[in-house]
């Protein structure tokens, strides 16, 4: 199975002639006082936490706050990390998702407030509104899914994680992950099909 846990090195196809330190090694270096290790970990793990938080919350400012808090917890727990107990990315995804759930429980309901601003241009107001709605169609549909389905779909189809890793993050079986993603996709399809006229898609 493809290893998707060492992002961005493998995901971006870099040469492996000189093996780069793993996330866990970098965390150990940070715990020993190496400031440069923190910079590397921020570059590797920050975007992953932020991407998931943004899809779970649909709000950039909240996603930034969640990512900052998740990374803060990472820095604080660094000396206590036991190598080999789990993937560091698994731990970070789990913390990020839990923070998102906590935040949504506090702030619900305002999930659809974050519609992207249309850019200036020659297009008509109606065209720009439809364009913005299309861009946000997936996000709006995702936000109508139950939390667990949305988590599974985002991790599988946007973060491109393997089912076993998602199972580890969500603390469920691989079969449960498959079930959640299948139901999530069916729900998304139904939601998007229901919005066809609203989005200006032509029939046929």
């Amino acid at each position: 199975m493809e290893d998707l846990t060492s992002y961005p090195n493998t995901a971006h196809g870099k040469s492996h002639a000189v093996p780069e330190p793993s996330d866990e090694e970098l965390l150990g270096r940070f715990a020993d006082g190496d400031a440069a290790a923190a910079r590397l970990l921020t570059g590797r793990l920050g975007p992953r936490s932020y991407s998931v938080a943004l899809r779970m919350l649909g709000n950039q400012a909240e996603a930034e706050d969640v990512t900052q808090e998740a990374m803060m917890r990472l820095w604080k727990m660094a000396p206590d990390w036991v190598p080999g107990q789990a993937q560091l990315s698994t731990w970070l995804y789990r913390v990020t998702l839990n923070l998102c759930v906590d935040l949504r429980r506090k702030k619900r309901p305002d999930a659809l407030e974050n519609v992207a601003e249309p850019e200036d241009g020659a297009a008509s107001v109606v065209d720009r509104m439809q364009d913005a709605a299309r861009k946000d169609a997936l996000q709006a549909a995702l936000e109508q899914l139950p939390d667990r389905q949305r988590q599974a779909v985002v991790l599988r189809h946007i973060e491109e994680l393997s089912n076993p890793e998602i199972a580890g993050i969500m603390d469920i079986s691989v079969e449960a992950v498959e079930s959640l993603t299948a139901r999530g996709k069916r729900s998304l399809t139904a939601i998007l099909a229901g919005r066809r006229d609203e989005l200006g898609y032509e029939h046929g």
Partner: protein, 120 residues
């Protein structure tokens, strides 16, 4: 983009939306990266300071903890004070050493009146 009416088309179109979402995945705000690195540095410095304090506590523990350190400081201060301001009933150690030194030096010179007279 037409939203398909059969399942296969709809699945394909949903996959296209996922692909578009993945393209935006690597966008990471620079100011967020800076905030995270500042947090990391703060945690690192705080941990370093705690480690330093722990090292001093361990050293102090070797001599009996804070009470031991306090006793050591008091004893040292008393010793300095006694050295410079000895009680009257004790011989002055400074005078003792100076007088001994002086006596020894004078005896060692072996001066006598004849020597002084010869010099004149």
């Amino acid at each position: 983009m037409n939203w398909g009416t059969n399942m296969a088309d709809q699945d394909k179109q949903l996959d296209q939306l996922f692909a578009q979402a993945r393209e935006a995945r690597d966008v990471f705000p620079d100011d967020l990266a800076v905030r995270i690195e500042i947090d990391a540095e703060a945690v690192r410095l705080a941990r370093s300071a705690r480690t330093s304090r722990r090292t001093w506590r361990q050293r102090i523990g070797v001599i009996g903890g804070w009470h031991g350190l306090g006793g050591l400081v008091a004893a040292s201060a008393a010793g300095v004070w006694i050295g410079f301001s000895a009680p009257t009933f004790l011989p002055d150690p400074v005078d003792y050493f100076v007088s001994q030194e002086a006596t020894y030096l004078m005896a060692d010179l072996n001066l006598d009146e004849n020597y002084l007279e010869d010099a004149e």
